[in-house]
């Protein structure tokens, strides 16, 4: 399965942990696209930096739209308001580092 890598910046009222991020992303995908959607998108957390509030997620190449929409639908993580903005999408992890 061909994959894409998405770099995300997280802005929240309180700090977000790796577990909270993964849970929120999976819950959003299941809520709007169902269990089948989750298995098709197949998101996988590659990197999470709580200090910089950045994350890199890998997902199936054919489901970029669903992945972006699921991220947009996340408005809360735990009890605090959160926004997750995509910064860059690339076919390789190395490509995310290039400007």
């Amino acid at each position: 399965m061909s994959r894409r890598y998405l770099q995300i910046t997280i802005r929240s009222k309180s700090s977000v942990t790796e577990e909270q991020f993964s849970q929120a992303l999976n819950a959003s995908i299941i809520r709007y696209f169902g269990e089948i959607g989750l298995s098709r998108i197949a998101p996988k957390l590659i990197r999470f930096d709580s200090r910089k509030s950045n994350a890199v997620v890998a997902f199936a190449k054919d489901h970029t739209v669903e992945m972006q929409a699921a991220l947009a639908f996340i408005s809360q993580v735990g009890e605090s308001e959160t926004v997750m903005l995509p910064l860059k999408t690339s076919g390789t992890i190395k490509g995310l580092g290039k400007s």
Partner: protein, 236 residues
């Protein structure tokens, strides 16, 4: 380069830090211009400060008014009064009759439906006569992210597409956490039933056209639709 606009941002005017945060996030998301909804009676000094706050982050500002009323006469009166003073005019449709009048009126740029009133939605009779663009606010989805709302929005999109009605996608948010990147708005548009090109148009081409037209109208050279002053004639 494609220019992205979010025509519906509702800043908290009294809270400068929230405005700065909003501006920072909008710039980070890749927006070039935003439509800021402000109260119609806002003082000029406050407006200037607000404009500067967003312009400091490199974002062009269009001032927008959202008109809310329940009767036709009231709406026409508000349009006469506020159309010349604002770059963008949006009408919150609280009932079907008002939606019909607002959609038909050329002075209205955008119509949108009140998320608190679930009984008023876009229908064929409104879309059939519409001159104004139909605005979909993501805030509705964030407020009530149930399947019913999504299905209803998909129906709205379907009706708008059937009647070739222009569509604009906006955040509609009053907090920095309600801002979404253009690529996210486009993804939601595609999920709701738009094609990729239509989704791109709904966050760039169509809002950009509305903004350019209205800024042109408010310039001193505008006389009426298709008529513009190009030079003053003075007798020697």
């Amino acid at each position: 380069m494609v220019k992205f606009l979010d025509l519906h941002i509702v800043p908290k005017i009294e809270d400068e830090s929230s405005c700065r945060r909003m501006a920072e996030l909008l710039a980070l998301s890749g927006y070039q211009a935003v439509g800021l909804t402000v109260p119609t009676g806002l003082l000029r000094d406050k407006l200037k400060d607000l404009r500067e706050c967003f312009q400091d982050s490199g974002i062009d500002v269009l001032i927008r008014a959202d008109l809310t009323c329940s009767r036709r006469e009231e709406l026409l009166k508000l349009l006469r009064r506020f159309r010349p003073a604002f770059d963008i005019i949006g009408v919150r449709c609280t009932n079907h009759n008002l939606a019909l009048v607002a959609a038909r009126d050329r002075r209205v740029d955008l119509i949108f439906f009140d998320s608190a009133r679930r009984n008023v939605w876009l229908d064929d009779s409104i879309a059939n006569v519409a001159n104004a663009a139909f605005e979909l606010n993501l805030s509705i989805l964030l407020e009530r992210g149930d399947r019913l709302t999504i299905t209803r929005l998909m129906k709205d999109v379907n009706i708008a597409l059937r009647h070739d009605m222009q569509m604009v996608l906006s955040s509609g948010g009053a907090s920095p956490f309600a801002i979404r990147a253009p690529v996210q708005l486009m993804a939601i548009a595609e999920v709701l039933g738009l094609t990729k090109q239509e989704a791109i148009d709904s966050v760039s081409t169509i809002p950009s056209r509305i903004a350019t037209r209205n800024v042109g109208r408010r310039s001193g050279t505008y006389v009426e639709e298709g008529v513009r002053t190009i030079a003053e004639f003075t007798e020697a």
